[in-house]
């Protein structure tokens, strides 16, 4: 059978299964089984083998640990302290509470790596306060939905761990790479709020003023969290611990902190563990089925043909990269970040290497592209999660609210492409 026919059969099958709402891992898996049986002639054990191979990994152990750590913070209400603290510190900017949400998200992002948890939590904590003080719901909900995506970029980030585990790139270097872009993006987003409110003052009430004393108290209240962040990231960047070890330490510290604040209940503890199990299993099942499908595509030669086809396109390396970006932006409207990543990497990563881009750099850029996907309809996870928390506002309100924030995010992709040093500088001096 010719390559074209095989590829078309597999891809059409995949798209059909996905469109009819079959679970993503099953859609990938069935197509991969078909490929294995019909075209490759390899035993179906590949599934168990790739599952074993991917998950029996020290690197991947960081995934449940980081999820657990974030969940402990989310479930025990420690985040409230964080939000109130951030509010005191940067809440006097125009559009104050919206800025605080973004700021607190940036800090929360350095504790947890899950965007969905962030959107849900801040929707519960921050939005009532915004509504009470007369914020336009579009600005409020937009900043919460977008703020959630900061958690994914600012390390520790689960998607970067998965990317590292998949590509066999150093997770510590990826974390270091995400640091500077994360901080820049956070400030861009805050700036977007400020500009919006300056242009249209009716969006937000006059920001509150806080005294120096109040701010100092807030800083002291936030200190334990900042300490956890500094320790968890510090030991990774200093090369003292691997990300996995540091994740374990972070998980323990989060329990200690929650106990110290008398916030932990056994139910919250249990809930956090189950969350870790659930998300890990979800990611793993998409991962190992996609690995098998990737092998099928490689075996029939589609991966190579795709790469050869893309490279000979007459647009230059940046033009080709732009095509990849557009593809991700479109895919991001339908897929969650993990599925999108593992489905496309078998094709995209050889291409990225061939074009002479760094895989570390690409990991970070991919995360931003995937983040945009998290807030674009029809399958922007953050939009749905937030809508679930604040059901009285239409999902369109949230979508419109996030639109202005897409601009700085897209700008960020362009900036990182023009200045890859922003990503690569920190990993370069650390390792």
């Amino acid at each position: 059978m010719s390559l074209e026919l095989m590829s078309v059969t597999l891809l059409v099958g995949l798209v059909l299964l996905l469109a009819f709402g079959v679970e993503i891992f099953v859609a990938i898996g069935l197509v991969a089984s078909l490929g294995l049986l019909l075209f490759v002639g390899q035993p179906i054990q590949q599934f168990a083998f790739s599952g074993w191979d991917l998950m029996n990994s020290f690197t991947m152990t960081a995934v449940p640990l980081f999820i657990f750590m974030g969940a402990i913070f989310a479930n025990t209400g420690v985040i409230r302290t964080l939000f109130l603290g951030a509010d005191k510190l940067i809440g006097n900017l125009p559009g104050g509470v919206a800025c605080s949400v973004l700021g607190a998200n940036a800090i929360f992002g350095a504790i947890s790596g899950s965007s969905i948890a962030a959107a849900a939590t801040f929707g519960k904590i921050a939005f009532p306060q915004m509504e009470e003080s007369g914020y336009d719901p579009r600005l409020g909900l937009g900043s919460i939905a977008v703020g959630g995506t900061l958690s994914v970029l600012i390390p520790p980030s689960i998607i970067l761990v998965v990317y590292g585990g998949w590509q066999e790139v150093s997770v510590a270097q990826l974390f270091a790479g995400g640091m500077i872009p994360g901080i820049i993006l956070a400030s861009f987003l805050v700036l977007t709020v400020v500009v919006q409110v300056k242009l249209n003052p009716s969006l937000a009430p006059q920001a509150l003023k806080f005294t120096l004393r109040e701010r100092l108290t807030a800083l002291i209240e936030m200190l334990p969290f900042l300490a956890v962040i500094v320790i968890v990231l510090g030991v990774i960047f200093a090369g003292v611990m691997t990300p996995t070890e540091s994740a374990a330490m972070g998980a323990l510290l989060s329990i200690v902190l929650a106990v110290a604040y008398h916030r932990i209940t056994f139910a919250a503890f249990k809930e956090s563990m189950w969350t870790a199990v659930k998300i890990t299993a979800m990611i793993a099942f998409v991962m190992f089925t996609a690995r098998v499908l990737g092998q099928v595509f490689q075996y029939i030669g589609l991966t190579k043909a795709f790469s050869a086809f893309m490279v000979q396109l007459p647009f230059g390396r940046y033009g080709i990269f732009a095509i990849i970006c557009v593809m991700y932006l479109i895919m991001g409207m339908f897929f969650d970040s993990f599925s999108m990543m593992v489905l496309t990497l078998p094709f995209v990563s050889p291409l990225i290497s061939e074009l002479g881009f760094s895989l570390i750099w690409f990991g970070v850029v991919f995360v931003i592209l995937a983040e945009i996907g998290l807030v674009t309809p029809p399958f922007g996870l953050n939009l749905f999660v937030l809508h679930g928390v604040v059901p009285k506002h239409d999902i369109m309100t949230i979508v419109i609210g996030t639109l202005p924030f897409l601009l700085p995010m897209l700008a960020m992709v362009v900036i990182l492409t023009a200045f890859p040093k922003l990503v690569l500088w920190l990993p370069g001096i650390l390792y």
Partner: protein, 147 residues
């Protein structure tokens, strides 16, 4: 499951004393956690799917589509169980053990893959049965998963 994660957290602390065990065992525990947790994840609607299109179909069509979808999931769970069985059986036959000083027999962690897939398949039998009953009664089986 929960205990496993707990053990895992403690495992990492063993590492501070330089034992070579944690490195190896955390991987096994992760495997167990993932595959034994798959059925739980299913029950909690934790596996992602794309509902953008199916939610726009008329309810009756959507129910039938979902039923077919569930059957497909069941088929895949059977494929996985079969794969898991052969994979584990292969290790049993050869008596493979890990290449570390512990010489852990790899069948032990590997059997969790098989068991996990079987659990998923069993759960799917129930799900498909429930879906059939619901479709015949004309009820919607695709409860809106707000994800």
């Amino acid at each position: 499951m929960m205990v496993l994660v707990l053990v895992e957290v403690f495992m990492r602390y063993i590492l501070n004393r330089p034992l070579m065990v944690a490195d190896e065992f955390s991987g096994y525990i992760l495997v167990a956690l993932t595959f034994l947790g798959a059925a739980y994840t299913w029950k909690e609607r934790g596996h992602v799917r794309i509902t953008a299109m199916i939610s726009r179909l008329p309810p009756r069509v959507a129910s039938w589509t979902r039923l077919i979808g569930l059957v497909l999931v069941f088929v895949f769970a059977i494929i996985l169980s079969w794969a898991g069985y052969h994979f584990t059986a292969f290790s049993f036959r050869l008596g493979i053990s890990s290449a570390t000083w512990l010489h852990t027999p790899l069948q032990v962690p590997q059997i969790t893959i098989f068991v996990g897939f079987i659990l998923l398949a069993l759960l799917l039998i129930v799900e498909v049965a429930k879906a059939i009953v619901n479709v015949r009664c004309g009820r919607s089986i695709d409860e809106e998963r707000a994800r």
